[in-house]
Subunit: 316 residues, 4 copies
Amino acid sequence: MTLDADQQAEIDAARAETRETGRATVPGLEAVLFQPFPVLDHGFVRVVDYMGDDSSIVQAARVSYGRGTRKVSEDAGLINYLMRHRHTSPFEMAEIKLHVKLPIFVARQWIRHRTASVNEYSARYSVLDREVYIPAAGHVAAQARDNKQGRAGALDETEAAEVLDILRADARRCHDDYEHMLNQDADGAPLDPARSGVARELARINLTLNTYPQWYWKVDLHNFMHFLALRAHPHAQYEIRAYARTLLDILDRWVPVTAAAFREHRLDGAHLSATALDVVRRLLAGDTVTREDSGLGRREWNELMAVLYPHDGSDA
Amino acid sequence: MTLDADQQAEIDAARAETRETGRATVPGLEAVLFQPFPVLDHGFVRVVDYMGDDSSIVQAARVSYGRGTRKVSEDAGLINYLMRHRHTSPFEMAEIKLHVKLPIFVARQWIRHRTASVNEYSARYSVLDREVYIPAAGHVAAQARDNKQGRAGALDETEAAEVLDILRADARRCHDDYEHMLNQDADGAPLDPARSGVARELARINLTLNTYPQWYWKVDLHNFMHFLALRAHPHAQYEIRAYARTLLDILDRWVPVTAAAFREHRLDGAHLSATALDVVRRLLAGDTVTREDSGLGRREWNELMAVLYPHDGSDA
Amino acid sequence: MTLDADQQAEIDAARAETRETGRATVPGLEAVLFQPFPVLDHGFVRVVDYMGDDSSIVQAARVSYGRGTRKVSEDAGLINYLMRHRHTSPFEMAEIKLHVKLPIFVARQWIRHRTASVNEYSARYSVLDREVYIPAAGHVAAQARDNKQGRAGALDETEAAEVLDILRADARRCHDDYEHMLNQDADGAPLDPARSGVARELARINLTLNTYPQWYWKVDLHNFMHFLALRAHPHAQYEIRAYARTLLDILDRWVPVTAAAFREHRLDGAHLSATALDVVRRLLAGDTVTREDSGLGRREWNELMAVLYPHDGSDA
Amino acid sequence: MTLDADQQAEIDAARAETRETGRATVPGLEAVLFQPFPVLDHGFVRVVDYMGDDSSIVQAARVSYGRGTRKVSEDAGLINYLMRHRHTSPFEMAEIKLHVKLPIFVARQWIRHRTASVNEYSARYSVLDREVYIPAAGHVAAQARDNKQGRAGALDETEAAEVLDILRADARRCHDDYEHMLNQDADGAPLDPARSGVARELARINLTLNTYPQWYWKVDLHNFMHFLALRAHPHAQYEIRAYARTLLDILDRWVPVTAAAFREHRLDGAHLSATALDVVRRLLAGDTVTREDSGLGRREWNELMAVLYPHDGSDA
């Protein structure tokens, strides 16, 4: 993550100023407001604004006239009840706004979540910085064989080093040529007065997918958790999971009671199919069940065994 | 509007408490936070929470690191530019949450706006108060002849009085019977121990459409203004327009610069069709144009004339 | 369900006409196209149009150039895989459009599903028929004690009969008064030339919530199944469940492979929380687990036992 | 546009097969079903499925039991009325599904339209073809000076040729390296058995933004037109406008009456602000109005003059 002095000064100025409000306020989130949380090699997530806290969920569920809270245990009970029974609308009643710097290939996965608002720093309008994502050597992995869209173990050192060299060289050359085609310096003045420079909206098509743009992203708490359930999942690509882990930390700070209920009922729970439930029932009745007579496919069987017997070693 | 003592005490308690925040704050909205604005005979709108102010729009449009504001005139210029060119995403970056009490027939129009979050006080779960909307005598109007879904002038006094008597009597009887079928007092104890009482979710089907439920409604600024453009429009039914007018007052308090741009470019502007534009061009060229040779239908012609010559009397 | 002769003739005419198309076609759905499926006492659901079939899901998942199908077993495997891993976007690629007649209190629950399109027959514009929902005697139930928004057993005959009398009488009177206030016959001519009649948008506020309006409702297959998962659920009110059951029949006709996967992985599956999973693991390890040391609340424990031991009697 | 023999054969097979249906059918669209319309150098748009026609809009607006149509002129009148008064819900009642091949930088603009469904051919899962967008020489333009996100005139031949050489060389090298890092041939076998090859989800980050992926895109008619209003607009980037023009041709084939109303009331109409309306009124009253006393900024004044006096030459 690389902030220049102006950016850091803007952040510091924003953090220095506070005001009185009658709205719900979260001290744990106020403490980190505007501060960048680093992600990957050049990315970050900053909390820019938020609306509501745990009490806002119970207040909305009760359609209260006042703060709407009762005893802490009653409020937590209601939040768990709502989460368990998938009463999602009260969780739409809190909102968060983030400033995110992320590689384009991550941004393309992220934007598939449609129930959010986005303002991207436009490369039609502005020149992008020379920042590209280069994975750490340990994340340069081979194609998984059993999962057509996953990674297997890390490549050997030599091949990984070659991959990193290629990624660096191609990104550097593409960015050099981007700047050359634009033919303008940081202030928009021509580098070479004999050339016109091509329009920004065209020059950018030469950039590689590991380039870092940035955007403001605003989402309600329900859809924030839905994003996390999909993107913190082991099937998600490592790079977007890195962002999801940071968002999960932010969730813990923002709405600790809701975050605990989310882990209990979503992240750390499991959905069992009708056939999987039948297997569980037969096992509880003392029957021996094999994959062959379970009615489950190989992958679903393995996943079920990993859920039921988590300490039995690998789930392969 | 009728708040009982408990409700008023809850509101007062919420208003008494303030905290420090680093977030954008709007003094004009803080001043009325939680307070009910009365609408119609028993309805209200209360601002329960909000996120962002005028500066949040420019901050998001610029994807800023800090507050994102520059000179006041530059910020206003940017907001007007965004509004004029229908760059809507920055206006999604502010959010408001309201507590609204409104008749069911208004709620059914309101809910058609899908890009918002709602928590309604459920009549499956709770018993509704005895409050129904009875129009003021001056609003008891005849069916419009030229507009199949509008009102003409007020009915004469006798017929209006009869209508009001009917509305009152039927609502009273339906509510009496609702309570009788429920067979429970305010604390849920049976009124008549010999009877079971019917389930709340069934008893409520006897209520009339002018009964007042209430809900929490949360929406972003862009969709808030879209709601206003449709529901503050003269074609909207009087009763929902009464709410829209109150929301427009709240908009003025919340984001005065955006509200002015919204009036300039939306509410007080006009959309002209290709043929209407052609009429304007011919008029400017000094031609005489009649409805017959304008290519416009009667209604569109009348609407255009009312836009072009607003002081020429009625638009009939 | 009551169709008049004109409506039946329109339906017959629509059913009589067929055309050639290159699009995916479902014979089982063509066979019932436009025909009303009766629901409750006056309601219905009609399939008015549809787009896509089971093969459209695999075609979209594979981004195919042609029909996109392979062997039937491979296609079914892919559909199950997508359903199990909640890859929802291919299921958005099929669409259905229904004409539904339903009581207002059901319509208000239905409309909360925002990811659908609706055109309602407007009572601002037209006069509503004299049709109201009166439950069958066996569905007139008492308030549940353990579930604040549910029904317990049926009321005794005398009390149920009284409830039905009240519902009928109040609905009849309200509708009589609605027509009286409108002061117009079926052709819009005044009943009493001495009176003006009140505007339709006002007269309708006197109707009760069991009145039957109707609408066109269009939704994609993913959101159709999401609707079913919530509204065919035992916690849903009986009356909307009656519609959900009919929609489930339509799902079976339309996309039989997807419908089977939906039952396997959603309707007949179960979601277990982290703590519930822990109980299952302890039980499988041969431990005795009581509710007290399970870490689960009473309701969640009962629900878990009902899932694990479905033949052990009541879940109370 | 480059289809291989297998793809062409799949399309031919799909086109050869027809079935009977009772649904609304559009002969003009059936005639081109599945056929690719070429866009840019390697892109295309194919109509893969559709639901509804012009009559579906009137049918939904009238909540009809049958086809819902009346005289052609009445139906066209209703469609124009709905379009003029922005009654958008009937236009949501028709749907279209397209297969689109488009450069990534275009896809990133396109996906900002959230009210649509998308299935993209995933580069996590499959290897992308070697196809990149290289603009025609006449479209290699300089940065506009007066519009920070637009293009001015074409570059001179020498500079344009250099830009094209750079784009071609960088894309070729990045794709070569992509294939090298993947280390697999078309069947997934290793090119060099001594190397593992890197996971597809990582290798793809080396591709440039002019690479062509493809997706299925499904949208309702209302949102299709909203997309066109924004993306066929002169302010949109040339490359997405090229797609929008093809979509507009498809609109004309699909729903000719709606398409004409869309041009009349949206594409070829204009929205005037309150101040612009005031200028028009003063001009019609015979006043002389200058930009300085108009109350309009320079750009809005120029745009207004271009609307009012389209034949007066340039709008600069």
